[in-house]
């Protein structure tokens, strides 16, 4: 058992905790590690954490999941087929240090970009799936993320498939400037076409979902699920605190707050998620005969 020092570093404040990535190896990586639950401070073995959908068995704290863990968790075994995995970000604005940032993000996440897209079956129901990756520049949306999301909606429209999307994002990717902003319109157009053709889109908002992603495909789903306590909003809490020069109320912009205000359909516990999504897909299946 390896005890890693950084896992014991206490978050300086609530905000830092929400944005800090606790490294949890994917299920196929051998060797157990010990992580400290940031909420109840109990040491946990990664194996037992993985077996519990990365939820602390002691206090119910939701650890962040990476894209491959999500896919493993939601898609039926051996059904996920990845699409458009070779799209790579360039540096369209010649933004300083952006290539280095991307390089670092690739190492950090073992992904080529901040979203993984493809087709899969969930509970036996075929669907298109996109899963965002927080470890890649905080899931920010540049042209490649926008393009992959757009293509998966176009693919789903063409094949009359429902779309299930796992969302985690800090918003637009500043380093791609206005082209990043344009992805909000582009993805919204693809979602609208998919919707107008009568297809279902289910979004699962996870911690955190903010900025330009909230203000586009994050809030455009027919059915919006949110994980407990996930931070969901347009402006980040830090920006609001600076603007208002006041502390934000407890629970502000959390999933339960959005449910109360009428902006999400339900809070979805991870352990129930696959069953819930399967049921929702089955309820939208055309009744034949």
């Amino acid at each position: 058992m390896i005890l890693r020092k950084e896992f014991f570093r206490r978050p300086k404040n609530e905000l830092e905790r929400s944005s800090r990535i606790y490294k949890v190896p994917s299920p196929d990586v051998p060797g157990e590690m010990c992580v400290l639950c940031p909420s109840c401070k109990k040491p946990l073995l990664t194996g037992e954490l993985n077996a519990n959908a990365n939820v602390c068995p002691e206090c119910g704290y939701y650890f962040r999941m990476n894209a491959r863990q999500r896919i493993h968790f939601i898609a039926d075994e051996n059904t996920f087929i990845e699409l458009n995995s070779n799209l790579l970000s360039k540096n369209p604005l010649n933004f300083p240090n952006y290539p280095e940032k991307i390089k670092h993000a690739r190492l950090e996440s073992a992904e080529k970009e901040a979203v993984v897209t493809g087709t899969a079956e969930i509970g036996g129901f075929p669907c298109a799936l996109f899963v965002m990756e927080a470890r890649f520049m905080m899931g920010s949306m540049g042209t490649v993320v926008g393009e992959k999301i757009t293509r998966i909606f176009e693919y789903a429209t063409e094949h009359s498939l429902p779309v299930v999307g796992y969302i985690v994002s800090g918003g637009a990717r500043m380093q791609e400037g206005i082209l990043s902003l344009m992805q909000m319109a582009k993805t919204s157009g693809a979602v609208k076409r998919h919707s107008d053709a009568g297809n279902l889109y289910i979004a699962v908002l996870t911690d955190p979902t903010t900025g330009g992603v909230t203000a586009s495909f994050g809030m455009e789903a027919d059915i919006i699920l949110a994980e407990p306590n996930a931070l969901i909003g347009f402006a980040g809490p830090r920006v609001i605190e600076q603007t208002m020069r006041q502390k934000l109320p407890a629970g502000f912009q959390r999933a339960e707050f959005l449910l109360e205000k009428g902006f999400v359909d339900m809070i979805s516990e991870r352990k129930e998620q696959k069953k819930q999504i399967t049921t929702l897909l089955s309820l939208h299946k055309e009744v034949s005969g």
Binding site: P92, L93, F95, P96, G142, T143, V144, G146, E147, T150, A172, M174, E176, G177, I178, L179, S180, L181, M182, Q183, M184, A185, K186, S188, G189, V191, K192, R193, S195, D196, G211, G212, T214, A215, S216, F217, G218, M219, E220, G233, F234, A235, V239, I240, T243, M244, L248, P249, F252, Q253, K261, G262, F263
Partner: protein, 258 residues
Amino acid sequence: MNAYEKVNAARAKNRPTGSDYIANIFQDFIEMHGDRRFGDDKAVITGIARLGNQPVTVIALEKGRDIKEKVYRNFGSAHPEGYRKALRQMKLAEKFGRPVVCFVDTAGAYCGIAAEERGQGQAIAENLMEMMTLKVPIISILIGEGGSGGALALAVADEVWMLENAVYSVISPEGCASILWKDSRKVKEASECLKLTADDLYRMKVIERIIGEHGRGFHLTCAELKRLLSQKLAENLRLSAEELVSNRYLRFRKFGSA
């Protein structure tokens, strides 16, 4: 002018605002109020007017001219009900087959507790989706600041035009500088990096047209806009709804598709 000087010009105190354009380009403007859901956002002016013989729906983000009006207009930063107010008028424009002209001038959608409570993200998202398939012509003109999603929510259009000294960006130069260099004073460098001037955006095909404003009176700018708008709207009114919507989709589809 360098990028930072353009940012300052776009924010200049004496710069004409949305109301000035409405007054100088259209006739018979009648203002309409409210989103029918929550309230009437003063940062967004909506109404119906005539452009030559053509009835049009006009929408403008309004910063306000003197300090009293600026406060009344919330400095041009809309709450969710502002975007919903705009969408309501766009839907009416669609119903009655009249084109939509939007004037964009905002530092951004308002960041605050009430705005979040009432779904700022959802309101912007809905506009993006609905504007993408609105069956009447839409032209958006950036007249000052084009601040991120709050500007885009009124700029999903068949063509987007920009005044020579307007800027359009995903983040303010101040925000960019504080993230990039942890120093909000490095706005000059950030302004350059973001490629937010009309020339930059024209080169990237984010806008179709730059409207000159240098060294001439405001009334001449408005006269040119009136001529160009009449021409383009007449042209687009001849297209079928399918062509119009398909062209608009492709206009945005091209960004980052290479």
